[in-house]
């Protein structure tokens, strides 16, 4: 009998500790690291973007080593979502409930971001986007736990549109990946180009993962367009550009990309020379802060930073600044208040976090892929820089004034 009683008591105490433990422990280790969770796509076809976020976090961790944030060290916890929204939510939940993170970032696809963002008010954790493009995240699907540091899809379309409105091209074709980002950006682009008295001579939506673009290339050629606007996910864009070059299409029709990435320039090579587009972060921006960053990044990783390397680094640095200002890394509500309407000196210029929709107002760029003997691949040359208020949509909308 005594043995059984002992066992029962032990079990009860044990369970009590297991349940109540984490809270007790958290208080005891106030100087524990600040944990940042990254549920990123690190395997599969979209791994390139997750790996960019990871690379940026590694450099950030190195840069603040020793001083930390509020004197506390920073710890990144990575989880692989394989770019699947259901997995992403499960991994994010694990990070929140098991690891006790208060900050999530590094999410790759907009579909994953929409799924995770919807859960954040319930979890009471802050979700900082540094990659996700879908306009809805700061418009229709806005919630106060979601912050977008990066340039959104509609903002990219806006920058290109402003540039083309000054240029000579009259007839344009739009080609967008068949999901939220592609369709949104094509709609946004078409509306703005038509307002600028340009003709949209065709629109097509190839499915994600298309490996043969021959039929679309034939359509673009038939339409007698002068330029083709491309909103294609990384790999699809590479394949399209490669095949368009083989068909000789790019001699007559200029490719214009919603995002002009190093990933594409490395894979397509010289065939991509002359392509124009917008960039969320072109590493060639000439500011003292960026020059320093590019050098540190190259020293650590042996390559030049791509768009989401830069955007993710900026997000992390800004988040650290906001945590310092709030004086806490645990009270998410306080941190949200501290972030709203705050400013930050980013790599490519000044940033402002709008209180009304948590979209960061920042400069927009039109760039061109050019050869430069100093670099091992094509680089984005900046053609035009637009101030933040010109490229950021009206609050909680995807429209521009």
């Amino acid at each position: 009998m005594r043995r059984r009683e002992f066992l029962t008591t032990a079990t009860v105490i044990g369970s009590a500790l297991a349940v109540g433990g984490p809270a007790v422990l958290r208080r005891a280790y106030a100087q524990n690291p600040i944990k940042i969770g990254m549920p990123a796509a690190l395997s599969g076809g979209n791994a390139q973007y997750g790996i960019q976020a990871k690379r940026a976090s590694e450099l950030f961790a190195k840069d603040i080593k020793g001083k930390g944030i509020l004197g506390r060290p920073v710890e990144f916890i990575y989880e692989d979502t394989a770019a699947d929204p259901a997995t992403a939510v499960r991994k994010a939940q694990k990070l929140v409930e098991k690891d006790g993170v208060k900050f999530l970032t590094g999410v790759v696809l907009s579909s994953e971001a929409l799924a995770i963002s919807a859960k954040c008010p319930e979890w009471k954790v802050l979700f900082m986007s540094t990659i996700n493009g879908a306009g809805a995240l700061t418009a229709k699907s806005y919630n106060r736990y979601f912050f977008r540091v990066n340039t959104s899809g509609p903002m990219g379309a806006r920058a290109v549109s402003l540039y083309l409105a000054e240029g000579p091209m009259k007839r344009l074709f739009a080609l967008g990946s068949d999901y939220a980002w592609g369709r949104d950006s094509v709609a946004s682009f078409s509306a703005q180009m038509e307002a600028a008295k340009r003709e949209i001579v065709g629109k097509e939506y190839p499915p994600v993962g298309t490996k043969d673009f021959a039929s679309y290339i034939a359509k673009v050629r038939q339409s007698k367009a002068e330029g083709v606007y491309l909103v294609l996910v990384g790999q699809d864009a590479t394949i399209f550009l490669k095949q368009a070059h083989q068909f000789g299409l790019t001699k007559d029709v200029k490719p214009i990309m919603e995002i002009l990435e190093l990933e594409n320039m490395k894979a397509v090579g010289d065939a991509m020379e002359g392509t124009i587009g917008s960039s969320r972060y072109p590493f060639t921006v000439d500011t003292p802060k960026n020059r320093e960053f590019v050098k540190r990044f190259h020293d650590m990783h042996g390559m030049y930073p791509d768009m989401f390397d830069g955007e993710t680094y900026e997000g992390l640095e800004w988040l650290a600044q906001v945590i310092q200002k709030a004086g806490t890394a645990d009270d998410v509500e306080k941190i949200i208040e501290a972030w709203e309407d705050s400013t930050y000196e980013g790599l490519e210029g000044p940033f402002l976090m709008r209180k009304c929709d948590h979209q960061a107002v920042q400069p927009g760029f039109a760039v061109q892929a050019v050869k430069d003997p100093k670099y091992p691949h094509l680089i984005p040359k900046i053609l035009a820089t637009f101030p933040g208020d010109k490229v950021t949509p009206k609050c909680r909308t995807e429209e521009f004034s």
Partner: protein, 286 residues
């Protein structure tokens, strides 16, 4: 006129590529009775090894000869060290095993090559476009059409006109009986698996200049290849050819004439086949 010709060539070029992948898938199912989920990854492995060969030697042509045997060897070794032991188990075990192999191989390639896609230039002879009665058409795609036809004919001849082909067909028809008659069934299976992987590897090398070598290319192609095999009939080489032509045409013409429903057409054809001729166009009723 030139538009019709262009559409026709587009369909044929894609069919050539699809055939190289689906022929092996079909053979493995016909002879080993295994649905090989890892087949697409051997195609991807071929593309990446092709990139390496071109980068090292500076030539495209050698990669067409070197890479397929290497991929075939990898496949044969994997068959002999894993699959061989579970043929007697339920099919679900084989599916799980090949799925696991696919994941391991794909992630190994990512670790080795990094996430950025690898571009491969076609050989100088096949670069640029050629004029066909007013139509400018990429030379490399014409090469894919020819390659598909030549390899298809070669595989078909080997299977139907040689002694080795006879043994393979015997094992496919009745493995136990073939065993009793003195065929080394285990060895035949390993060789067939290796040959199928080599075909996929050849497909990968050939695809790289058109699509680049990239992560996820294996998963993308395996779905199409399954559809080809279902339409054409399991284990039939002429079936794989017919299936590749149908899927190639459905994808390219669908994307051109009916873009909103392009993806559906291919599956609709497959659905019709499954309803009216479940064993496929060239398969044998069981």
């Amino acid at each position: 006129m030139s538009l019709i010709l262009e559409q026709l060539l587009n369909a044929l070029a894609l069919a050539g590529l699809l055939f190289l992948v689906s022929a092996g898938l079909s053979l493995v199912f016909g002879i080993l009775r295994v649905v090989n989920f890892a087949h697409g990854v051997f195609y991807m492995l071929g593309a990446y090894l092709g990139f390496t060969t071109v980068a090292v030697t500076g030539w495209f042509w050698p990669s067409l000869l070197i890479v397929p045997p290497v991929v075939g060897l990898v496949g044969a070794l994997l068959e002999a060290s894993t699959l061989r032991f579970i043929y007697r188990r339920l099919p679900i075990y084989q599916l799980l095993l090949t799925f696991g192999l696919a994941l391991i191989l794909e992630e190994s390639i990512r670790v080795l090559y990094g996430p950025t896609a690898k571009g491969v230039e076609p050989p100088p002879l096949l670069q640029g476009a050629i004029s066909l009665g007013g139509l400018l058409y990429p030379r490399y795609r014409l090469f894919l059409v020819v390659l598909g036809l030549v390899v298809g004919a070669a595989v078909w001849l080997i299977l139907t006109r040689t002694r080795a082909g006879l043994v393979v067909r015997a094992v496919a028809q009745n493995a136990e009986m073939a065993d009793c008659l003195g065929a080394d069934v285990a060895r035949v299976r390993t060789l067939v698996f290796g040959a199928a992987c080599a075909l996929a590897g050849l497909g990968g090398v050939a695809a790289a200049p058109m699509t680049t070598a990239y992560l996820g290319m294996g998963i993308g192609v395996i779905v199409d290849a399954f559809v080809v095999v279902v339409i054409g009939g399991l284990g039939s080489i002429p079936g794989s050819m017919a299936g590749s032509l149908i899927v190639g045409a459905a994808q390219t013409w669908g994307a051109f004439y009916l873009p909103e429903t392009a993806m559906v057409i291919m599956y609709a054809v497959m659905g019709l086949i499954l309803i009216f001729r479940p064993w496929g166009l060239f398969g044998e009723e069981e």
